[in-house]
């Protein structure tokens, strides 16, 4: 599918609409879809019959690939990642993939390397599930 400008997530060319839209991490989508499914369970004996295959597959996927299950942990992850100058898209890719090193983060989200000095911190201890304490800086002169 091509728009007026060729899309390329590595350069954050994802269209104005998606750059401005609210992006959600898998763990956030999991909370939304599970909540919707629970509401359906209250009104129907067989909620799986009420939902589309897309909903079912999406729910299974986000449940399987959510790094954080606890709603407080999910909120904290977004809060921590939001402290840095990241677009919604970059925030969500980092939140989904949880890179362990600066090198891995840039490989997953190449648009980070053009940002010059940035600090990305994922804190552990406060959150129930294992996160890595990670602080690193990108000197703008470093070629990656």
């Amino acid at each position: 599918m091509s728009g007026e400008e060729e899309e390329n997530a590595a350069e954050l060319k994802i269209g104005e609409e998606f750059l401005k839209a609210k992006c959600l991490m898998n763990c956030e989508v999991s909370l939304i879809l599970e909540h919707k499914y629970e509401q359906l369970q209250q009104v129907s004996e067989d909620p799986m019959n009420q939902v589309s295959q897309v909903f079912e597959k999406s729910l299974q996927y986000v449940k399987r690939f959510s790094r954080y299950k606890n709603p407080d942990a999910v909120r904290q992850v977004r809060e921590i990642l939001s402290r840095h100058q990241l677009t919604e898209f970059e925030l969500c890719v980092l939140g989904n993939l949880c890179p362990e090193t600066a090198e891995e983060a840039v490989a997953m989200v190449p648009s980070l390397k053009v940002k010059g000095q940035i600090a990305i911190v994922m804190s552990c201890g406060l959150l129930r599930y294992d996160l890595v304490l990670l602080t690193f800086f990108f000197p703008s002169s470093l070629a990656l």
């Binding site: 599918m1 919707k36 897309v54």
Partner: protein, 173 residues
């Protein structure tokens, strides 16, 4: 949304919302990808009777969760099938990221991984340290996709650094 008069009455709004969810959830938008779930209604405008019919059209603004791939995006998926390359353009394994189908050709698999036949066909690294088979979780990069009325399918690769088998959260082969 278009509604037949039999749905008018006290439950008009409820009927409109149910119809919206039924018509829209699970469909594919050329621009936005899969519409996974409607999450809320922002507004329902005044209905307009369609000339010559009893149907009334209501403009409805709603919020929903959509899912679509982007070229160059890295994401995680589950391997659903593994099979050997038989011709230049055949795809060598299928993976799924929810409703999204991803095809990975053996040209996009690292050179040191070889196809192994058997009850559980798989791709194994030459030193035996990594094995990709059905139901494994992999991290891959999207290199192209196509959207039609019934599905969105992509072409992916695990050939670059930090891509491939996910052995535990945060680690890749």
């Amino acid at each position: 949304m278009q509604l037949h008069p039999r749905f008018f009455g006290q439950n008009l709004r409820e009927n409109l919302v149910s119809k919206l969810i039924k018509d829209v959830e699970g469909t594919i938008s050329g621009r936005h990808g899969f519409v996974s779930a409607v999450t809320g209604i922002e507004s329902i405008g005044k209905g307009l009777i369609r000339d010559g019919t009893p149907f009334v059209t209501f403009p409805v603004k709603y919020r929903c969760v959509v899912f679509r791939p982007f070229e160059g995006e890295v994401l995680e998926a589950v391997v659903t099938r593994v099979f050997p390359n038989k011709c230049c353009y055949s795809t060598d394994y299928f993976a799924e990221a929810g409703p999204l189908k991803i095809f990975v050709s053996n040209h996009c698999i690292p050179d040191d991984m070889e196809y192994q036949t058997g009850d559980m066909p798989n791709y194994t690294k030459s030193d035996g340290s990594v094995r990709i088979q059905k139901d494994c979780e992999v991290r891959l990069k999207i290199f192209g996709f196509s959207i039609d009325a019934t599905e969105i399918s992509c072409v992916g690769s695990i050939k670059e650094r930090f891509l491939g088998l996910i052995t535990d959260p945060g680690a890749v082969a």
